[in-house]
């Protein structure tokens, strides 16, 4: 196939050629970045929490009135006892927060008391000895808390538990390559000995600002006794989640009615927690997907439209070529190659545009750098799209009979 005659033909259609190339370039730039955003969001919302999500639900319990810390502790213990006896409930634990909640207590961890900068950020989870079993965490070193180690504190006291359990991610950060169990870390209130390490436990927030300490959590052996209330994390026996949820709310009210468990978010299964935490990411991914598909469709339609016009305009030339011995294949190839040339030009410009657009988004929207594979994918998609779109008009062109050469339009 000779390229030179194609180029000289295109030179007579500068505006049209330019427009198609431009459209392909813009589409490539947008689709590449959209695909990249989709991938990012999907990867983000597939991050594991490390807990037994299928069987866990959360009770948000708020106290009415103004109980003091000791009273709250007593009521919490009574509640937990009640919850653990509810049919269908495997175990329950109190906490100030849970993964994907989006707010809670984040604090710095230091290795020396006089350090000026924190060694790492972390999420602080208050817990009792049932925490690990209830959440279904995997203890990979050391031991669980003993029942006699569990205390209670309100915000008046400093955060200074004698022992803590930390996550593997935090252990690796603080003691790279070393053994964390038995070491001392410094929380805001003072030193604490690490007695255990659990495998995976996500921080309470999955927002961008918390990504520095995504899986670094510290588990504190205290019940946090806020007079406002706190959370109970409950693990149902497999397959009994719904029944256990309904029964748990009733049992708590029967045990002590001076409380509020709100209708909208008082009882949440963990799958609801997950969908609430990631709703904007999922929405964004879907939107990007829809826009990409529509964009590709519009571009394809544009190519079909413009090429059809060119074919209509060149019927006589095609007839002449056919009369002079060109086969149908030759005509088909001619239009396919013509489109390939335009697409290549568009893709070339589009690659530059895509990178520029990504760099701009990096500065404006805390985006990561575009990886090369998305560019390659985008380029392949658009070249295939161009060839696919041009096929119908090109086939129509190849069916132009040689006798057309002798007709006037």
């Amino acid at each position: 196939m000779q390229i030179k005659p194609i180029l000289s033909a295109l030179r007579r259609h500068k505006a049209g050629t330019f427009l198609i190339a431009m459209q392909i370039a813009l589409t490539l730039a947008i689709v590449c970045n959209a695909l990249f955003i989709i991938h990012q969001r999907v990867a983000h919302l597939s991050e594991p929490t490390g807990i037994d999500e299928a069987n866990i639900f959360i009770v948000k319990n708020e106290w009415v009135g103004a109980p003091d810390s000791a009273r709250v502790d007593a009521m919490m213990r009574a509640d937990l006892q009640t919850l653990r006896q509810v049919p269908g409930v495997q175990d329950a634990t109190p906490s100030n927060s849970y993964p994907l909640r989006g707010s809670g207590w984040d604090d710095g961890v230091k290795l020396k008391p006089d350090q000026l900068q924190d060694s790492s950020g972390s999420t602080i989870y208050f817990a009792d000895e049932h925490f690990i079993d209830t959440l279904g965490l995997k203890l990979i070193a050391g031991r669980n808390f003993r029942a006699d180690e569990i205390g209670h504190m309100d915000m008046r006291y400093k955060l200074a538990p004698p022992v803590v359990i930390i996550t593997r991610a935090l252990a690796d950060k603080l003691f790279p390559g070393g053994q964390a169990v038995g070491k001392t870390i410094y929380l805001i209130g003072g030193p604490a000995t690490v007695v255990g390490v659990v495998d995976l436990l996500q921080a309470q927030s999955v927002e961008r600002w918390a990504s520095d300490f995504a899986y670094r959590s510290v588990i504190i052996p205290e019940r946090l006794t806020l007079s406002l209330g706190s959370f109970y994390i409950v693990r149902a026996r497999p397959g009994q989640l719904d029944a256990a949820m309904r029964a748990a709310g009733k049992a708590l009210f029967a045990q002590n009615p001076r409380r509020v468990i709100a209708d909208d978010d008082g009882l949440l299964s963990f799958s609801e927690v997950r969908s609430r935490a990631y709703e904007s990411d999922r929405g964004m991914a879907i939107l990007m997907g829809v826009i990409s598909i529509v964009l590709l469709a519009v571009t394809a339609a544009g190519i079909v439209g413009l090429t059809s016009f060119w074919v209509g305009q060149r019927r006589r030339q095609i007839g002449v070529r056919r009369a002079l011995g060109a086969t149908r294949q030759d005509i088909l190839h001619y239009f396919m190659t013509e489109n390939l040339l335009i697409s290549c030009a568009g893709v070339l410009v589009g690659t530059v545009l895509a990178i520029a657009m990504n760099l701009w988004m990096v500065t404006r929207f805390e985006m990561h750098r575009l990886s090369l594979s998305y560019l390659v994918t985008g380029v392949v998609i658009l070249l295939l799209l161009g060839q696919g779109a041009v096929l119908a008009p090109a086939l129509r062109a190849s069916r132009v009979p040689p006798v057309e050469a002798t007709r006037s339009v």
Binding site: Q23, A29, G65, Q117, V260, I291, G302, E366
Partner: protein, 434 residues
């Protein structure tokens, strides 16, 4: 003449239905997507207090110790109890209010309503006149009541309807956390968007249901909610929040005039120097006095995703327009013969040009109308989302107008190049080739 062009345009559009539909659809999709996202962006980045936002400022000082100090960072987003009260009582601004958020258990007198939690705001007297808060019944509390730690409460219209059936409830008693408060005022509908005064609370929610004097909230041990940021020996303890080194309050001032703003900035610098001399502040003096809208910008109150979607939709519109330019170019050039005849029969270049522009205008108008429909569908979809701003996504008259101007303007612009190219046709050549 316009009528004739319109007739020609409609005939031509009818002749090639698929191409016309394609062009209209492309424009409509681009316009629909752009208008949906632009409307959301417009609503979210609006001025919460039109007319008075320019006089509202958010003073910031840096009371932290040297732990984790980095030069050039902004002062904390909130103030400590001590600084807040010092600045409040200094009264250097035209109006000033210190505040924080909270949640209170409301214990209704009626036995048929279960106790429930309400969002609350603990603040000082100037809050209401400074933010021009409308009252349905009663009055805001006074500075004297602030100082006297009066057990008074102002409630929202919504809460008044729930508890008192919408009647004038001033003088009634409201029990919260085992303490009796007297209702002295009921707010009228008030929905500043974004809810600017506390960036740590939902930016697009409704305002709180309960307003209590800050001093009384401390007395009654009402729970504080929102961000608490501590350093040194601070433990975020709600009971000792007056003395702990923690920032947990918002402080707003009203300054009428640029000279007052400059003077207030100087005052903040002097205050910081004084506190440093006293040994309370340790860092180099670091103050800021952003205006309301600037404060919204700094804190990126408008979600990044919304801005990203807007840019994306505009990019989409651009591709749709390029597409339309290409298709119109093809269409107009294909009619070279017809245009040649018109030119030969005496139509001037200008007339042919106008005729073609009318045709692209018709496409733009159709695309705009259809796009508007799509925008309504889009906004309806946005409202179905569970995000806190979902309910705000409504088309306004202004945006409606913008839609049409954008649709028709963009299509006319897109029609310029094809129309110009088409009227360059030499009539003789066209006629000869027939």
């Amino acid at each position: 003449m316009f009528g004739y062009y319109l007739d020609l345009a409609l005939r031509s559009l009818r002749r090639n239905k698929i191409l016309t539909a394609l062009m209209v659809l492309a424009i409509a999709l681009g316009i629909g997507a752009s208008m949906t996202t632009l409307t959301v962006l417009h609503v979210l980045s609006g001025d919460p207090l039109p007319g008075s936002s320019a006089t509202l400022f958010y003073p910031q000082v840096d009371p932290r110790d040297m732990d984790g100090y980095e030069e050039g960072k902004r002062p904390p987003d909130q103030v400590t109890w001590t600084d807040g009260n010092n600045l409040l009582h200094a009264k250097r601004a035209d109006r000033q209010a210190l505040m924080t958020g909270g949640a209170v258990p409301v214990q209704p007198a009626q036995s048929n309503i279960d106790p429930f939690f309400s969002d609350a705001r603990y603040t000082t007297a100037d809050f209401f006149p400074m933010f021009k808060v409308p009252f349905l019944y009663g009055r805001p509390w006074t500075e004297a009541e602030d100082n006297g730690r009066a057990r008074v409460v102002v409630i929202s219209r919504k809460l008044n309807e729930k508890l008192f059936g919408g009647k004038d409830s001033t003088g009634q008693t409201l029990r919260m956390k085992d303490t009796a408060f007297q209702v002295i005022g009921v707010l009228d509908e008030w929905k500043p968007t974004p809810r600017f005064y506390d960036i740590y609370m939902q930016s697009y929610g409704s305002v709180e249901d309960v307003f209590v004097p800050l001093s009384s909230s401390r007395d009654a041990h009402l729970e504080h909610a929102g961000s608490t940021d501590c350093w040194g020996t601070g433990g975020g303890d709600g009971e000792h929040a007056e003395t702990s080194p923690c920032t947990w309050l918002q402080f707003w001032v009203q300054l009428d005039g640029a000279d007052k703003v400059a003077a207030y900035h100087d005052f903040l610098v002097h205050y910081s120097q004084e506190q440093k001399a006293l040994g309370r502040f340790q860092r180099p003096v670091n103050v800021a006095l952003p205006g309301l809208m600037q404060w919204m910008d700094i804190n990126k109150v408008v979600p990044g995703d919304v801005r990203l979607q807007t840019w994306l939709a505009l990019g989409f519109l651009l591709v749709c327009l390029v597409n339309t330019v290409g298709l119109m170019l093809a269409k107009f050039l294909r009619r070279a013969g017809e245009l040649g005849v018109r030119r030969a029969l005496g139509a001037s270049r200008r007339e042919v040009f106008t005729q073609l522009l009318v045709e692209s205008g018709v496409i733009g108008l159709a695309g705009g109308l259809f796009g508007l429909l799509l925008a309504f569908v889009g906004l309806w979809l946005v409202r179905k989302q569970p995000s806190d701003y979902a309910s705000l996504a409504h088309m306004s008259l202004g945006m409606l107008l913008v839609t049409f101007v954008l649709a028709v303007g963009a299509t006319l612009l897109a029609g310029l190049l094809p129309a110009w190219r088409a009227c360059q046709i030499t009539p003789a050549l066209q006629l000869k080739s027939q």
